[in-house]
């Protein structure tokens, strides 16, 4: 599924929630993925003047949401440091890294791609 967004993040979240449920994520982890994708898509609105694209797909093992936009991230450790409580920035990608099972981030002059993975059957669960 591909979706182009410019400012309607509510629609982005609704699409992620619908696909996460269909893929079989639990409600809590579906909401985690919704938060992660919304935070990344919010960066498109904050840091670029163009639209972004959302792709969602899943197989038996995991669901993946990929956001691509024209922005460039230069900090290789972005989102890896815990912001101080009350910090006035830096929470977005920190949250993304906290709630997702795996985050792949590539960025260069052509744009930024963030791929967020959620395992459908986490270790320790039945089945």
């Amino acid at each position: 599924m591909y979706h182009t967004y410019r400012s309607d993040l509510s629609q982005v979240r609704a699409l992620v929630l619908q696909h996460a449920r269909e893929a079989g994520l639990t409600e809590g982890r579906a909401n985690d993925l919704v938060l992660a994708v919304s935070e990344v898509a919010a960066n498109t609105l904050r840091h670029t003047r163009s639209s972004g694209t959302l792709a969602i797909w899943h197989d038996a093992e995991e669901i993946i949401c990929e956001i691509h936009d024209a922005g460039t991230i230069t900090d290789p450790l972005v989102g890896r440091r815990k912001p101080a409580p009350g910090a006035s920035g830096g929470h977005g990608l920190w949250l993304v890294r906290q709630v997702c099972d795996l985050v792949e981030l590539t960025s260069d002059a052509d744009g930024t791609t963030v791929r967020m993975h959620m395992t459908l059957r986490p270790p320790g669960t039945a089945g």
Binding site: L9, S10, R13, G86
Partner: protein, 116 residues
Amino acid sequence: MDLLTTSVATVESGSEPYTLVKLVGEADVTNSDALREVLDAEVAKQPRTLIIDLSGLRFMDSSALHVILRANRAMDREGGVVALASPRDPVAKMLRLTAADQLIPVFPSVSEAIAG
């Protein structure tokens, strides 16, 4: 219908008056400026207690969190207190992950927030 609606009440009942701001819908980067204006206006009135009722909030992102943290700092400077009431599970989780719940007390209900 707006993605986020806010309603404000000044409640005089009991020993201490307080300001109650109720958020309904989804709070994100697209409406955080509007949320900031609402909270700034209430903080400027220097209430002793500002309670933000989150029970109707289906979603909150880091932009909205920053607006709330900013209001908390401003209230703190004036000797006032901010409390958050009845967040749904996803909102409660993001307050926990960002450690915002260590700066701003979170209560299961508005009545418990009033009791402090």
